[in-house]
C-alpha cells in the first residue's frame, strides 16, 4: 500500500516535470496543511531533546514552522515517525541559526514518513551514526529563487550502515542525496530531481545505489573522492538498475554568470548522467542513461578541477572502474558550453563538434605506472553492448589547453574486473 502511494507520487511527478531547465515542482503543496500550534511545535522540539533510548518521536499531521533546529543527540534506537510525506511537514523557512534543519546522531536511528522544507543549510544531516535509516522522507526547497536553496537535502556523513529508501530529494543547490565519509551504504528506490547533483557518494566505502530515478538534475549520479579529508579515499561502489534521465538542469550551485568556486559541484556541466571523479573500484551496470545532453558517463581524474592534487593517503586518479551493460540514449540537444568540462566535451570530442557523448575518459593517468595509456594503467574497463555505435571519447590533456587531443579507440579499455561490495548486513535496516 505504501509502496503504491510512493509510485503514485512518482507518477504525478513525472507527469508534471517533463519541462526543461527550471522547475519548481513539488510533490504536493504543503500550504494546504493545517499549521501546528505553537504548543505542538514546542513539544516537538522538546521531544527531540528529551526522547529516551528506544523511544519513538511521533509527529502528527500538520505544518510545523520551526525557528530552531531539531537535534537528536547521541541516542540509541530511536524512530522519528511522521504521518506521511504529504501529511507531516517540518518547515525551516524561519530558522535563524544552525547549519541544518534536522540533525541526528546515535545508533539505530530511523526517520520516516515526513517532509522537510526550506532549511537554509542542509535539510537533514546525520553525523556519527551507526545505523541510520531515511525512509519515505521528502526533502525539498519550495523557493522559486534557487539562490536561496540549501546545500544538501539528505546528508549522512561520518556514518556506518546507512539506508536511504523511497526518499525524494529535490531542488538542493548541491547534492540531493549526499553520502559522505561513510561506510556500508544503500541508496535505493528513491527519486532525486531538480538538484545540481542528484545522488553523490563521496569518500565512502562499500555503497550500492540501485532502483533510483535521477532526473532533471545538472549531474545525475556522482562518485567522488576529495582530498584532505579525515576519511581520505573511498572505494567500492555499485550503481545499477537506475534511471538516469534528462539531467540537463542549469547548474545553479553558483549564481548565473558567476564562475565556479572551490566546490567541485559548481564545475559539473549540465547534461551529465554519471560522473566518476578520483573514484576507486566502481561498477556501473544495467542503468538507463537517457537524454543527458552533454555526457552519459564521465570518468574523470581530480586534475581536471585545476585544484592541488596532493593530499596524504589519497590518489587523484580514478581507478578500477567497470562500466557495462548500460543502455544509452543520446539527445540532439547541444552539449553544455557553460562549464569548462562541457566546453571540452562539446568542442574537442572525437565524434564531431556539438555532439553528445555517451562515455568519456578525461585521459589523465598515473605515468609512474605506465608511459602509455593504451596499457590501461588505471584499469578502466568498459564493456557496453553496441559499443561500436556509442560516442566514446578519450581525451589527452597532458600537453595543456592548446594541444588537446581526443580518440575514439575503446579497445584498450575492453576488459572486465570485479568490484567488491557487500551490503547484505544492512538490507534489513
Amino acid at each position: 500500500m505504501m509502496k503504491q502511494s510512493f509510485s503514485m507520487i512518482l507518477l504525478v511527478l513525472f507527469l508534471c516535470c517533463s519541462c526543461g531547465n527550471s522547475n519548481h515542482d513539488q510533490t504536493f503543496d504543503s500550504n494546504n496543511l493545517l499549521r501546528a500550534s505553537e504548543a505542538a511545535v514546542e513539544k516537538l522540539i522538546e521531544d527531540f531533546i528529551l526522547v529516551e533510548d528506544g523511544g519513538t518521536i511521533s509527529i502528527p499531521e500538520g505544518f510545523y514552522a520551526l525557528k530552531t533546529q531539531l537535534i537528536l543527540d547521541n541516542k540509541k534506537t530511536i524512530t522519528i515517525q511522521g504521518a506521511g510525506m504529504d501529511k507531516t511537514v517540518l518547515s525551516f523557512r524561519d530558522l535563524k541559526s544552525g547549519g541544518e534543519g534536522v540533525k541526528l546522531s546515535g545508533q539505530n536511528i530511523k526517520i520516516e514518513n515526513l517532509t522537510i522544507e526550506d532549511a537554509p543549510g542542509d535539510g537533514v544531516k546525520a553525523q556519527h551514526c551507526d545505523g541510520i535509516t531515511f525512509r519515505k522522507i521528502n526533502v525539498t526547497w519550495t523557493n522559486g529563487d534557487k539562490s536561496k536553496n540549501g546545500t544538501y537535502a539528505i546528508y549522512p556523513v561520518q556514518c556506518r550502515n546507512v539506508m536511504i529508501d523511497e526518499c525524494i530529494a529535490s531542488h538542493s543547490k548541491d547534492a540531493g542525496i549526499y553520502v559522505g565519509q561513510s561506510e556500508n551504504i544503500i541508496v535505493k528506490n528513491s527519486l532525486a530531481f531538480g538538484n545540481v547533483a542528484g545522488i553523490e557518494i563521496e569518500n565512502s566505502d562499500n555503497a550500492e545505489v540501485f532502483g533510483n530515478v535521477v532526473k532533471d538534475n545538472s549531474g545525475g549520479i556522482l562518485v567522488f573522492n576529495l582530498p584532505g579529508l579525515p576519511k581520505s579515499d573511498g572505494k567500492g561502489t555499485k550503481i545499477y538498475d537506475n534511471e538516469i534521465i534528462e539531467n540537463n538542469h542549469t547548474n545553479f550551485a553558483t549564481a548565473l554568470n558567476e564562475s565556479p568556486n572551490g566546490n567541485t559541484v559548481t564545475m559539473i556541466p549540465p547534461g551529465s548522467g554519471v560522473i566518476l571523479l578520483a573514484a576507486k573500484e566502481v561498477e556501473v551496470y544495467n542503468n538507463k542513461i537517457h537524454k543527458n545532453k552533454t555526457v552519459g558517463l564521465a570518468i574523470a581524474n581530480y586534475h581536471i578541477t585545476g585544484f592541488p592534487t596532493d593530499a596524504p593517503d589519497w590518489s587523484p586518479f580514478s581507478s578500477d572502474i567497470y562500466i557495462h551493460d548500460n543502455q544509452y540514449e543520446r539527445t540532439l540537444a547541444l552539449p553544455d558550453l557553460s562549464k569548462e568540462m562541457g566546453q571540452l566535451i562539446s568542442v574537442y570530442n572525437a565524434h564531431g563538434k556539438g555532439k553528445t557523448q555517451d562515455i568519456i575518459y578525461d585521459g589523465f593517468w598515473d605515468t609512474r605506472i605506465s608511459d602509455d595509456i593504451n596499457t590501461n594503467p588505471m584499469k578502466i574497463c568498459i564493456q557496453e553492448p553496441q559499443m561500436e555505435s556509442l560516442h566514446f571519447t578519450r581525451f589527452y590533456l597532458l600537453e595543456g589547453e592548446d594541444n588537446i587531443k581526443s580518440f575514439k579507440a575503446y579497445s584498450p579499455f575492453d576488459c572486465s574486473l570485479k568490484v567488491q561490495t557487500n551490503v547484505s548486513a544492512i538490507s534489513n535496516l
Partner: protein, 373 residues
C-alpha cells in the same frame, strides 16, 4: 510603651530576617547540599551559586570566577564565568598539547551572557540574557540552559531556546539593537563536542594560563585555583600551554589570528570536532598550512563558498572563503553556524590582515603539484 518598643523590635527583626531571606533565597549551605539527582532545578536561584541579588552575580564560597585569555564572539555579549567544586574536590591538568582538564563528577561550570546598557560603563546597569550550566555527572557533561526573567530577579530552566530583543549603546556611543538567539539545549553540543561527547571549551590550561583581576586584587588564575584547592598537583606554569588574548595588539599578528580562530572556530574545526568533515582544522596548535585552509578547496560549504575557491587564498583576504563566511550574516553561509547574528568587525579585520600578510609564493612551496591560482 516598653511593650510597644519590644513589639517593634520583634517586628523589625522579623522584617530583617524576611528581607535577608529574600536577598539570599539560597545560601552557601544549600549549594553544598545540592542534590545532583534532582537536577536540573527549575530556577537558577535554587542552586545558590550567588550571594545577595542574583543579578549581581556575586559568587558564594567554592564558586570561583575564571576568564579565558581569548573569548568566543557571540554578538558582543559580555560573559562572566564561574566554576563550582564542592569542598575537597579538585581538578587535574592533563599533560597534553592544550592542557585539557580532568574534572571530578559534580563539577559545575556557570556562564552568564549579558549586555551592559552602555558598553562604556561595563560595570553599570546590565541586562542578563541567559545562564548556561554545564554539569558533570557519572563521567559525562550535560548542558542546562536558563533564561533570565523579564524582571532580572531570577532565571528559569528552558530547553527549547528562544529569542530576545537586546539593546545597548556601543563603545562609540551608537545604539545597537538585535534579536539575540538563545540556543536550544541540544544546540549546546554543536560546539561543545569532542568525539561526539559533550565537553567544556574554555576551561583548559592554555586558556587559563594568565593573570586576571579578582575585583580589588589580581592573581594568576591557576595559582588562585591552587591556593583555593581547585586544582591538585599544579605543574610548573612555564611548562603548561598558554594561548594569548587575540585582542592584545602587542602580540604577533600570526599568534593573534591563531588565537582568534582557536576560540571562535576550533571547537568544531578540529580533528575530533563536528567540523572534522571539512578537513579544515583551526586550533592554535595546528601547524599544517593546508589544514589551516591555505589553498584548500571546500567540501560541503555550499553557497558559503561564495565565488571563491579556497578557504584561505594567501595574500588575498577578499578572495578567501574564511573571511567571506565571517563577513556574512546569512544563515547557511555565516560562520560560526550558531551564536551570532552580527558580524564581528574587529575579528574580521584581524583575520583579513593576517591573510593579507601571507605570501602566495611562499605558501605554494608547501605543495608539490601545480595548480591554478
Amino acid at each position: 510603651m516598653r511593650h510597644l518598643f519590644a513589639s517593634c523590635l520583634i517586628f523589625l527583626f522579623m522584617g530583617c530576617a524576611f528581607l535577608h531571606s529574600c536577598q539570599q533565597p539560597a545560601n552557601e549551605k544549600s549549594l553544598a547540599q545540592l542534590d545532583f539527582k534532582q537536577l536540573p532545578l527549575k530556577k537558577l536561584s535554587e542552586y545558590g551559586f550567588f550571594a545577595g541579588e542574583l543579578s549581581d552575580l556575586l559568587p558564594n564560597n567554592r564558586v570561583l570566577f575564571y576568564e579565558p585569555a581569548s573569548s568566543l564572539f557571540t554578538d558582543y555579549a559580555f560573559k562572566s564565568r564561574f566554576i563550582y567544586l564542592a569542598e575537597g574536590k579538585s581538578v587535574k591538568i592533563l599533560d597534553n598539547a592544550e592542557g585539557e582538564i580532568d574534572f571530578p563528577d559534580e563539577t559545575i561550570l556557570i556562564k552568564n551572557f549579558y549586555y551592559p546598557l552602555d558598553f562604556r560603563v561595563p560595570e553599570g546597569k546590565k541586562q542578563i540574557i541567559e545562564t548556561r550550566l554545564m554539569i558533570k555527572m557519572n563521567g559525562s557533561w550535560e548542558a542546562y540552559p536558563y533564561i533570565w526573567d523579564e524582571d532580572q530577579k531570577d532565571a528559569t530552566y528552558k530547553i527549547t531556546g528562544g529569542e530576545k530583543e537586546v539593546k545597548w549603546m556601543d563603545l562609540e556611543g551608537e545604539d545597537q539593537l538585535i534579536e539575540y538567539i538563545i540556543p536550544n539545549k541540544n544546540q549546546c553540543k554543536s560546539c561543545h563536542n569532542q568525539n561526539n561527547e559533550m565537553v567544556p571549551i574554555g576551561v583548559k590550561a592554555k586558556h587559563l594560563n594568565h593573570e586576571i583581576s579578582y575585583g580589588d586584587r589580581s592573581n594568576h588564575q591557576l595559582v588562585e585555583w591552587n591556593e583555593k584547592g581547585f586544582v591538585s598537583q599544579l605543574q610548573d606554569l612555564e611548562n603548561l600551554p598558554k594561548m594569548i588574548n587575540y585582542q592584545d595588539k602587542d602580540q604577533a599578528l600570526h599568534d593573534r589570528a591563531m588565537a582568534y580562530l582557536d576560540i571562535n572556530c576550533a571547537h568544531c574545526h578540529r580533528e575530533d570536532g563536528p567540523a572534522s568533515t571539512s578537513g579544515l582544522f583551526l586550533n592554535y596548535e595546528e601547524k599544517d598550512w593546508r589544514k589551516l585552509g591555505v589553498f584548500k578547496t571546500p567540501v560541503a560549504a555550499g553557497f558559503g563558498a561564495g565565488s571563491f575557491k579556497y578557504a584561505i587564498f594567501p595574500g588575498k583576504a577578499d578572495e578567501s572563503i574564511m573571511t567571506h563566511r565571517m563577513a556574512s550574516t546569512e544563515i547557511g553561509a555565516a560562520m560560526p553556524e550558531i551564536g551570532r547574528v552580527m558580524v564581528h568587525d574587529e575579528g574580521l579585520e584581524l583575520i583579513k590582515n593576517w591573510i593579507s600578510s601571507l605570501s602566495e609564493s611562499e605558501m605554494r612551496a608547501h605543495f608539490s603539484s601545480d595548480f591554478e591560482p
